[in-house]
């Protein structure tokens, strides 16, 4: 039986109480994308600027639970100033971590694109995730996975729209 400490790690509560990169960038020029969690009504607004292949700025708005808000905050801190290629890789790694137990938990499906489901799970380099690894415990609470992935799916959509893959 997973305990609450698996879910609500101190770093998560910290980002929930003091979210980083909060607000909205002026759009345009920034790319603005909205994400919704149809299960709980949470919504998130990601605004990002991509300059010269680098995510030069990002801000997060919207409202949601501690997991969705802290995940968004951690994400913004992790991707700001990094090349788009690395950010895409990070999104893949993060979503991989969020589906580690996907094969044994049907409800753990996070609504991602079908090609994710078909492919064999790749080994996840948790070390590469740094502080984001604090969200690892969320997979033990399958209903909350969508909370953690909401901002990441929204960011991925924003990248696709600003710079088609």
């Amino acid at each position: 039986m997973p305990g609450l400490e698996d879910l609500y790690r101190e770093i998560i509560l910290d980002h929930y109480r003091s979210p980083r990169n909060r607000g909205e960038l002026e759009s345009p020029p920034a790319q603005r994308v909205e994400g919704f969690n149809p299960l709980c009504g949470d919504e998130i607004v990601v605004t990002l600027e991509v300059t010269g292949g680098v995510v030069s700025d990002i801000k997060i708005a919207g409202s949601g639970c501690s997991i969705s808000q802290s995940s968004a905050s951690l994400m913004s801190a992790a991707v700001k100033g990094r090349p788009v290629t690395e950010v895409r890789e990070l999104i893949r790694t993060f979503k991989g971590m969020m589906s580690i137990h996907g094969s044994t938990l049907p409800s753990a499906d996070d609504g991602s694109t079908p090609d994710d489901e078909a492919s064999e799970p790749e080994p996840i380099d948790i070390e590469a995730l740094g502080e984001l690894a604090a969200l690892q415990g969320v997979v033990k609470f399958p209903v909350r996975i969508k909370c953690a992935t909401l901002s990441w799916n929204t960011l991925a959509q924003g990248l696709d729209e600003s710079e088609p893959a």
């Binding site: 609450l4 709980c40 009504g41 949470d42 919504e43 639970c65 997991i67 909350r144």
Partner: protein, 418 residues
């Protein structure tokens, strides 16, 4: 809907709780405190046994076989229909009760049969801001196809419908869709008044009884509505079966819903002749075991007495609202009417600034089951200015100890998030 106060009799919750096996469960090391009956209620052994007994002794397909158990299965299936019909006061239960998958499918059935034959481009449908998506989206789907207008009866800050301008709102409308009891606010709506005004304007009334039928006495004639939909699984019955009551004359005029077996009298290469009501709307093998279970659920509720259940839930809701306010003061906001007599035992609340998901997650550690989310009522959530609420809802098997456990667990939630 009768209101009873001071009948003298009290519900013996400790005894009837023993009828519900799931309520003896332990969750995370705590006895379960089940406060999510508005989403789905638990079932007593009487219902579980009736379904098992039917499956073990009687099961065959209904309305087909000319052999003993098939005839007995048909007899018991149709007896369940009549039993459920009498439970809601249907004047002609053998014709007016239609079984479908759930209340949602029943409302879709009305939209697809009455709606598609009686509503035309430019017609108006009136809904309320507190409807469940089940009584919104079927009409929006139809509106998109047939260019209908939708109007909305607003709510006030206390969660009552604003009916001052009802005459104008329903003027020229063909249909009014309204819930008997809000699944978020608990508000009990004045169905008779709404129905009288709607009928005077020439509109029919489609009532969502999913929350009201399990918790208070229901008489479709007194409600004055034209159709009423409800679900077995919210009234101590099984999942997989919902009930539509409709006035005989109204149902008799309607085309079939889905096509297939059971709903036909004759099929030729050049067409088919639909069956009489209610079977016209029941294509394919129906949920037979579930109908038996629903019949047993109705027997169970009737045996206890709906008036006693209602009185118990008023007392419990009054206690819960007072106790929550006393302990948490301004840290808690309970949505909906302040007086328990005007509402059912459904308490949606905001607690400090803790998100409902987080509340629900911490409460689970204490074995307390509440619902967190938008409760399939997003227009209402927008009106309330929230994304989601936490919701504790009561049934006949809840008592003050459940409320006390909720309060202690909420206290711990507050401490956890600082």
């Amino acid at each position: 809907m009768a209101e009873l106060n001071g009948t003298g009799a009290e519900l013996d919750v400790a005894t009837l709780r023993k009828d519900f096996p799931l309520l003896s469960l332990e969750v995370n090391g705590h006895p379960i405190t089940y406060l999510d009956s508005a989403a789905s209620s638990q079932r007593p052994v009487q219902v579980l046994d009736a379904m098992r007994e039917y499956d073990e002794t009687t099961h065959a397909n209904v309305h087909r076989g000319v052999y003993g158990i098939a005839e007995e299965a048909t007899r018991r299936f149709e007896a369940a229909r009549i039993n459920v019909g009498r439970f809601v006061g249907a004047p002609n239960p053998s014709r007016e009760i239609v079984f479908a998958k759930n209340a949602t499918e029943c409302l879709n059935l009305v939209a697809r049969t009455w709606g598609s034959t009686h509503l035309h481009a430019g017609d108006t449908v009136v809904l309320t801001e507190m409807e469940h998506h089940a009584n919104i989206v079927p009409w929006q789907m139809l509106a998109a196809e047939q260019e209908l207008n939708l109007r909305w009866i607003p709510i006030d800050d206390d969660g009552h419908l604003v009916l001052d301008d009802l005459e104008q709102l329903v003027d020229g409308a063909k249909l009014v869709g309204v819930t008997c009891m809000s699944n978020v606010l608990g508000t009990l709506n004045p169905m008779r008044h709404i129905a009288d005004v709607a009928h005077a304007a020439g509109a029919i009334v489609v009532a969502d009884g999913a929350q009201s039928v399990p918790h208070l006495p229901t008489d479709v004639t007194s409600l004055g509505v034209d159709v009423l939909a409800f679900s077995a699984h919210k009234m101590v019955g099984p999942t997989g079966i919902g009930v539509l009551w409709g006035r005989d004359e109204l149902l008799s005029d309607l085309p079939p819903f889905l096509g297939g077996g059971e709903m036909i009298l004759d099929v030729r290469k050049d067409g088919f002749t639909p069956n009489d009501i209610p079977w016209r709307f029941e294509a394919g093998t129906p949920p037979i075991t579930e109908a038996i279970g629903l019949g047993a659920a109705v027997d169970y509720l009737r045996g206890i007495g709906m008036e006693l259940i209602r009185a118990h839930e008023i007392a419990l809701t009054t206690y819960a609202m007072a106790a929550l306010h006393e302990r948490f003061g301004d840290d808690i906001h309970i949505f909906g009417p302040k007086d328990a007599v005007e509402r059912g035992g459904v308490l949606s609340f905001a607690f400090r600034d803790v998100h409902p998901h987080d509340i629900s997650q911490i409460l689970d550690q204490y074995g307390v089951c509440v619902r967190a989310g938008h409760h399939c009522a997003k227009p209402l959530m927008r009106r309330l200015g929230v994304n989601a609420t936490a919701r504790a809802s009561f049934a006949l098997y809840n008592d003050k100890s459940d409320v006390d456990t909720l309060i202690e667990a909420l206290d711990a939630t507050g401490a956890f998030f600082g």
